[in-house]
Amino acid sequence: MKLRQEDGAANYEYVTARIRSRRASLFDESDYRKLVRMGPDEIARFMEESEYEREMNALGSRFSGVDLIEYALNENLGKHFDDVLNWTDGEPYGYLARYLRKFDAWNVKTALRGIYSESPPTEIDDDLIEAGELSDDLLGQLVEADSIESAVELLAGTLFSDVLADAYELYEESGILVPLENAIDRAYYTNLYAGLPSDPSRAEELYVEFVEAEIDFRNLRNALRITLSGADIDPAEFCISGGRLFDETELRQLANNPDELVARVRSSTYGEELEDGLDELDDAQDLVAFERALEVALLEYSDTLSSRYPLSVCPVLAYVLAKEREVDNIRAIARGREAGLGPDEIETELVIT
């Protein structure tokens, strides 16, 4: 998919109406309750009779079992986001396009990992999610690239080009992809709020509020991962600027003391939403449960923003998160059932709002 220019007047009424209809067709709690009691084959059959029918049938000749479900989910995700982009004009288009560049980041990282591990181009191509800005041609060339260096060269002119050029030197020194992957993610988050006017409109404010929450949550989970891993790493190196919870200096100070970090989050604007997750983190140092709590909190936050400001970019972004969550939930159920997990065990892992 190639994104068009952000032009024209914002068509919030039209987009939000269509989004409401799409949102209503997402799987609800009762669907998940049914799914967690099915085996992988039954889940596949259920999906063939649902929204995912087209993708399941299209990919059925190439994949089978839970792999088929996962690839169909990814394909469907791309299609839906493509539809939403086609409906939007003006401001919401620009915000959504920025947000969906996360799939560009995903695709570039997937391509680099594939090249690095010398995977066949067809396998790398299967793992791409076509929901971003990078064209099919460029992605095709990327997966065919014979070295990391040529892949980095191919990305010239994209939002990743400058950061990748800098990170490539570090990659050459270390021989591992960490600098490149971090640079790609950092470029994505920087691009989310880059270039916004200093006196933002209400729509821009709402978008910024949403992005700040996402960056805060990402910083928080990464700081806790680094701190609890016990590794001698400066968490500030992995801090994404743009959040409102803490900056690099604060994060460096707080990361040495996880209790203080948790206390700081409790007293922040997110304290109420994250209370349960923070309690679990305090009790069991269970970072996974806390990450789940962060995801729930972000979903709920986006829903709150979208119900408070129904004619804004918020319902669009909330739908993107909800659709992604649906895909994550279905995949979790299918993979969980494949691995022999019980319905109760899977249900605790699902994020349903």
């Binding site: 996962e70 960490v178 993610d185 790493i233 993979r335 691995a339």
Partner: protein, 231 residues
């Protein structure tokens, strides 16, 4: 074997020397076997613990990767896994336990800090860290299990070898030597008895001859006396 040897005193002495040496060897090997068994029992306990750890950790690692595949997706997990192509370094040294050379395996670069695992920190989650952690621990335990189980195998082979040697001495070599010793002793005793008998015979014969000579001399003297009386 017993009848193969010449029943001489020299051979008897040689057999007695061999018996003494074999008995000493038998005692030493028995002590070695018992020592090896004790060492083996220690290693066996350790191996049982390590095996149990491998099973537990494999279960945990499998569960962690299943959860990561479920929550992050198979594509994300495969992607994170392929972001590192460096293998752990394994070096082996040898250690001597009661004459048995067993390997000592040292590993490095198995457990890695978060920023050296290949995948980026910013775009991944704790689920992937958890799976990576669990597999790193599993690999470390597998390496330990390889060391302990190889040592156990080597010890077992040495115990079997020592047991075979002890049994060969106890049930084949020493009985043969005892039999040979007994055979030679019997033969020598028999020879001695024969010698005594022969000596006795000779003595009797000599005595008989002496008596006969005496009788002949007496008869001759008697005849001479009769002849002189007739004259």
């Amino acid at each position: 074997m017993a009848t193969d040897v010449k029943p001489t005193r020299k051979n008897l002495m040689a057999i007695e020397d061999r018996i003494e040496l074999s008995e000493q060897g038998h005692d030493t090997l028995e002590k070695k076997r018992d020592g090896l068994i004790m060492e083996f029992m220690d290693i066996l306990d350790q191996a049982k613990d390590v095996r149990q750890n491998v099973e537990d950790q494999y279960g945990r690692a499998q569960r962690a990767i299943n959860m990561a595949r479920a929550m992050e997706g198979d594509v994300a997990v495969r992607g994170a896994a392929s972001a590192l192509t460096e293998y752990p370094e394994i070096t082996t040294e040898s250690m001597n336990i009661m004459g048995v050379v067993v390997p000592q395996i040292e590993s490095s670069k198995v457990k890695k800090p978060l920023d050296e695992r290949g995948y980026g920190v910013l775009g991944t989650s704790a689920r992937i860290d958890e799976a990576a952690d669990a597999y790193e621990e599993l690999i470390e335990t597998i390496i330990l299990a390889a060391e302990v189980e190889t040592a156990m195998k080597e010890m077992l082979e040495e115990i079997e070898k020592t047991k075979r040697r002890v049994n060969a001495l106890e049930f084949t070599l020493l009985p043969d030597l005892y039999e040979g010793q007994e055979y030679i002793e019997q033969k020598l005793e028999e020879q001695e008895r024969e010698e005594i008998f022969r000596m006795k015979k000779i003595k009797d014969k000599k005595q008989e001859e002496a008596e006969e000579a005496e009788e002949a001399a007496a008869a001759e003297a008697e005849a001479e006396a009769t002849a002189s009386a007739d004259d």
